[in-house]
Subunit: 259 residues, 2 copies
DNA sequence: TCGAATTTGTGCGTATGTATC
DNA sequence: GGATACATACGCACAAATTCG
């Protein structure tokens, strides 16, 4: 006789009240005992209702205090690329306005045997040998206004940079110059790049570095620079979705058809 | 005396066994009764252990069968744009090889009063009136090889398309042609587009449409087409990261510096 | 500063429904 | 149909965090 899911309709009611604005951002949701009284259910059901809303990202539970409608601060926009002939039309200018600037960064460099995925992206042959380093790995924490913005782990093949003045990306005369400039000094002309975008839950370590809550979602961008057909650098870039969106600008003649 | 979190160490053990490969992809995890016996805990704790692993994306629960280590099939690549002068170098060609093709789609169109976020993107003034529709909304389900690939909800301002042959995007002579072609027939030249990328948990409705598990993560792309400075179409595109990655190709002279 | 009240988090035991094999 | 396993539900207890008099 029981439909089995007594928590769903109750969650629906609260969801609706949030969407309609009846419950505004920051407002406290009914507590567990309150839901038990008003809907005549047990604590397990009332708990499940609130947990469901939290897991959907609509609410935040504060232990000892209550469950509240989640506040969504304006997210800043990280501009990763736009086409140069998409010159500053006003809608673009508006979108650029809130753009996040990367001001400072920390880094550490070391030689490693590149992991499997990176091997594929850099075109390194074979499975690799832990005792034979074949890539320079550099890990960055980027900040804007002293707030952490993104993490990046970059790999450059040692076969390319070993023995050159730019082995260590952030040391020497070419430090802080970016991959394209640095590669130019050793005669490598970067012609284009590819960015493979995905997303996943943040790891514990990343959550601490980015100052976000565990369970948050991050965008993961695998960016690879090419000199013609040869990959010369690849990086895993991690961006917290709670605070940032990523903007790609494209020219329409490149856009895929049929959508 | 109780440390309070009896499920955490048990979850750690299973996490370790998964990471080490002791439990391979597709293997069945210990069931709830099994965990109760082997660790001497109640069903609530055993349940919490498994639910924790599922929520971390490490396992999948199949009702009536068991909980299994999640399998991660190769993800296909959705190419959203690449620069025309990034012509088929071999690494690109390789990346294109596994590319997902959109073959068919369903859709439904209706006039609506555009929601808040869409109003901003389309440059519609004022808060909008529920009784006064000002946009044509079209919802798509795209499929490739009959498998759902992405969802899209598109908005075009009625002030632009009302009374034209293309009011209904998927009807009439310009159906199935894409935004750029359709707009051209009414004298609107689309010059460029912007894609704002983010991610979030999938909604229940989307999970059913895309045939993914609830709790999965989706990429959300807000794509807007512009005719010079005027936005002429915007869409919310939803892509499940469990099966797809999105590829953006860029020219290096556009790339942001300092990374 | 302390303590009482409130609220969430975790835990125990048990029962029923339902999907899978 | 029967055995197994997960999902949901009920009631109760205590710990930890927060709030406030």
């Amino acid at each position: 006789m029981d439909e089995g899911n007594r928590y769903l309709p109750i969650a629906d009611v609260l969801r609706q009240r949030i969407r309609s604005g009846d419950l505004a951002e920051g407002d406290q949701l009914p507590s567990i005992p309150e839901l038990m009284r008003t809907h005549g259910v047990s604590n397990a059901v009332a708990r499940k209702v609130l947990r469901t809303l939290v897991s959907e990202g609509l609410a935040i539970a504060r232990s000892g205090s209550g469950t509240y409608v989640r506040e969504r601060p304006e997210r800043q926009i990280l501009v990763r690329s736009w086409h140069r002939n998409a010159r500053g039309g006003s809608p673009f200018a508006i979108e650029m306005a809130g753009q996040a600037r990367i001001g400072s960064w920390d880094y550490t460099s070391r030689t490693v045997c590149a992991p499997e995925g990176v091997r594929r992206r850099l075109g390194l042959e074979g499975p690799g040998d832990d005792d034979v380093p074949d890539a320079m790995e550099t890990s960055y924490v980027f900040r804007g206004d002293s707030e952490p913005v993104q993490l990046s782990t970059s790999y450059e093949p040692l076969s390319l940079v070993r023995g050159t003045p730019i082995v260590l990306p952030e040391e020497g005369p070419q430090a802080r110059k970016g991959v394209v400039e640095r590669m130019r000094t050793i005669g490598v002309t970067v012609t284009h790049s590819a960015e493979l975008v995905s997303a996943r839950l943040v790891t514990v370590v990343e959550a601490r570095q980015l100052d976000v809550a565990p369970g948050d979602i991050v965008l993961v961008i695998e960016r690879t620079y090419y000199a013609d057909t040869r990959p010369v650098e690849t990086a895993d870039i991690v961006i917290p979705v709670a605070r940032f969106q990523v903007l790609y600008g494209t020219s329409t003649w490149d856009a895929p058809a049929g959508e």
